[in-house]
């Protein structure tokens, strides 16, 4: 197979675009397309300070690399979750992220959950009802809270995350199966800071397939954590991605159409903003100042209070 642009040997064939490209043209195409998406969805400009949430995985490190190559002001934020599970998952992710930042002379903020909040994510999860079986929900709540806090405190204009199209399509698929209109309303390339205490969020990679992101990381020689998070085994998102990929194999472009048609339908008013009751009824957490869906402390602060309570009980014993 040959590159559409220069006829040299192609390294990737993107069947949904009927486009095969060589290494140089693929990397250039990724940069051009990212710039196009940033502008199309009014994500941010070259005057904005962007905080990139980096996990050490292929998507977030590639996003940081692309934004850096495009000349955006972009610093990184790594959250040390304290996941070990015999493979030193967090330690290795952090090492790779620090190496990436150092090689490019980029600024990296590191928040270590155990250092700041007393316990690692698996331990925090274990002390709560919602995280007793699996820490994923607690991990998600904590990451969202910390990302928002750091972005606010450090004065960033926007928080960029490495969600790719497969991530977005899997979430959309799950929320469509249950007609979770509140979640559907909030899904999109941009999550506006509609309330005080919230930072604007952007997903510049939301139209790239996960396969393209892995190819970009590989071709740009980005060292990323290849191992899956040990807690991701059996995750619903992976199950949905697998289903969508099987459909995609028979119908190239189906994942992209699914997501883009949803965005168009939303734009056309298919989902009425009035039914987003959660958003209407948001309150401010008295402890951290971030918005929360019920009066009183937010879920994260309540979780942390519980962890402190358990730690104090242990000390007293």
């Amino acid at each position: 197979m040959h590159c559409r642009k220069c006829s040299s040997k192609a390294v990737i064939n993107m069947r949904q675009h009927k486009l095969a490209l060589c290494q140089d043209h693929f990397i250039g195409w990724m940069h051009e397309q990212t710039e196009r998406f940033i502008q199309k969805y009014h994500m941010f400009s070259h005057d904005d300070r962007v905080l990139v949430a980096v996990s050490g995985g292929k998507d977030s490190l590639s996003l940081w690399d692309i934004l850096w190559k495009l000349g955006y002001y972009c610093d990184g934020l790594y959250i040390g979750l304290g996941i070990d599970e015999g493979i030193q998952y967090s330690k290795e992710s952090q090492r790779l992220t620090k190496k990436f930042a150092l090689e490019r002379g980029l600024k990296l903020h590191i928040v270590d959950v155990a250092e700041e909040y007393g316990e690692t994510i698996p331990v925090i999860a274990n002390s709560t009802l919602r995280g007793r079986d699996k820490p994923c929900s607690v991990c998600g709540i904590s990451k969202r809270h910390i990302m928002n806090r750091v972005a606010r405190q450090q004065g960033y204009d926007v928080l960029a995350t490495g969600h790719n199209l497969d991530d977005e399509a899997a979430v959309l698929f799950g929320n469509t199966l249950t007609w979770s209109t509140g979640f559907l309303l909030r899904q999109g390339p941009i999550l506006e800071a509609t309330l005080p205490g919230l930072v604007r969020k952007a997903k510049p990679l939301c139209r790239f397939y996960e396969r393209e992101m892995a190819a970009y990381a590989l071709l740009r020689n980005i060292g990323y954590i290849y191992e899956e998070c040990p807690f991701a085994e059996g995750a619903k998102s992976i199950y949905y991605k697998d289903i969508l990929n099987r459909l995609e194999a028979d119908r190239p472009g189906l994942k992209l159409t699914f997501y883009l048609s949803f965005l168009q339908a939303k734009e056309a008013g298919l989902l009425s903003p009035q039914i987003d009751e959660d958003k209407v009824n948001l309150h401010t957490c008295p402890s951290c100042g971030q918005p929360t869906s019920s009066p009183g402390e937010c879920t994260f602060c309540r979780m942390m209070a519980k962890v402190t309570e358990i730690s104090n009980e242990r000390v007293e014993l």
Binding site: V11, I12, K58, C139, R211, D242
Partner: protein
């Protein structure tokens, strides 16, 4: 000495032997691996799935799907 007529495909800790002479796309189909979920590499070089497998080829498949 008998010539090897197979190629090896490696995905994480699994190894698969397939006949040389078929395309990577065909090999993945036979193994039930979705071509959307992997990248195909030979000696670190990225390949498209129309590439024909040669005898004694060692193909590393890079899993691209992550959860969370």
């Amino acid at each position: 000495m008998e010539a090897k007529l197979s190629a090896k495909l490696i995905l994480r800790d699994k190894e698969y032997e397939v006949k040389a002479g078929m395309t990577i796309r065909h090999a993945l189909e036979k193994l039930g691996i979705s071509s959307e979920s992997v990248l195909v590499t030979r000696q670190g070089q990225l390949l498209t799935d129309d590439e024909v497998l040669k005898e004694e080829d060692v193909i590393r498949l890079v899993a691209v799907i992550s959860g969370g």
